[in-house]
Assembly symmetry: C2
Homo-oligomer: 210 residues x 2
DNA sequence: TTTAAATGACTAACCAGTCAGTTATTTGGA
DNA sequence: TCCAAATAACTGACTGGTTAGTCATTTAAA
């Protein structure tokens, strides 16, 4: 293998090894994934893998930490840029299928949920750095909608969880049934329906009807 | 250990071993769970475990199959007995916290999701015997509500997924964050809010307002 | 020639699955 | 009622295969 001499080349190599680890952990599970296979997938040998990571557990933790920050920042930006209310909800619902289909989040969530008991520190990182930041961003978008008089919201914190729930539903459906050709899920239709229900439920009751 | 001579005693022993396996698989993951620990947890030796199950994989499959039928039947009965519509939704939402707190379903879902790639046959059993039966039962309850003129539903199949999504959200939250004392989730409040949103979204629009 | 990145054979530990031996329980003859 | 023989449930030391982690050696690049 061509050598990584500069520190940029090493950073790249490190992230290639992490990508390989994500795939192996996802496909075989943390315990069954072989360090040799991870190295091979990145086109390197096991010995080299150990130049970049102290051990299997450090490789796992670094995965979670590396993905945490950028993801959360992206989602917070989206929820803020749209100015809150139904526009923000709509922007998030439109983004959901892409996130589910083309980012590492579903795979990361799977390996994290599956190994939560073994890696409590990584779980806490993920909860505080991703999950709770996303939930707060959604709650803020709902509060903004209320302040604009566009939404009728009594409990933004619980409602934020309900807004996000179908995304997690789809995520679990995909990672669990993805090899089952009988189990299709129409993401676009699901999120369109979700948005419709939220609009009906959260729109202020027209005064005329009272 | 006192011996199991009758076939009833053997059935009991078998199910004790399965309970032990559920706990070990849940806590350590399928690959890391030791057959010796499973046997010990049931107060037996590893050799005895192999009298009841051919191998580790058979133990896993039997777990999924044993839990599948009774659970699905219970939930179908509830959704039918309440006569459909909001009464059925309400009955299910009231039941959700108990299912999440006091049944094996969350643990079973975790080990199944985590090992979906290794056991496609068990995944298919679970999907057809539990997941899709529950979703069909919910969809039927929604259709019944529409037929009664109590609900305004355009897509019962997608809506059923949205009704169930917060249950899965809570399930994943619990199995992932259960050891994290900072991460509390008020199940009763969440499902109360969910029911409120569904009532608002699915109630027919009052004619006066049009 | 020097450097340090990369390699892969090696070892030490782990564990699924086996099976020869042990022992609780039942059976039936005295 | 007692006890010896028969039965089969149960045990755990053992084996064979697997893999995380090491390190002496090789080799690409400066």
């Amino acid at each position: 293998m061509a050598r990584a001499r500069t520190s940029e080349a090493k950073d790249l190599r490190r992230s290639e090894l992490m990508d390989a680890a994500l795939e192996e952990f996802y496909e075989r599970g943390f315990a069954s994934a072989r360090m040799d296979d991870i190295a091979r997938r990145a086109g390197l040998s096991k010995g080299t893998l150990y130049l970049y990571f102290d051990n299997k557990e450090a490789l796992f933790s670094s995965l979670v930490e590396a993905h945490a920050l950028p993801r959360a920042e992206r989602l917070e930006a989206i929820s803020q840029s749209s100015g809150g209310g139904f526009a923000a909800i709509s922007a998030m619902m439109n983004l959901a299928p892409t996130i589910l289909r083309h980012t590492a989040i579903p795979k990361l969530v799977k390996i994290l949920v599956a190994n939560a008991a073994q890696f409590p520190a990584s779980v806490t990182v993920y909860r505080t750095q991703i999950v709770e930041r996303i939930l707060r961003a959604v709650a803020r978008a709902l509060e903004a909608g209320r302040d604009k008089g566009e939404m009728n919201i009594d409990d933004p914190v619980m409602t934020a969880r309900l807004v996000v729930a179908p995304v997690l539903f789809s995520l679990v459906w995909r990672i669990t049934f993805e090899h089952d050709p009988e189990a299709k899920l129409d993401l676009e239709a699901l999120f369109a329906q979700h948005e419709k229900i939220l609009r009906r439920a959260l729109s202020p009751v027209p005064e005329v009807a009272l």
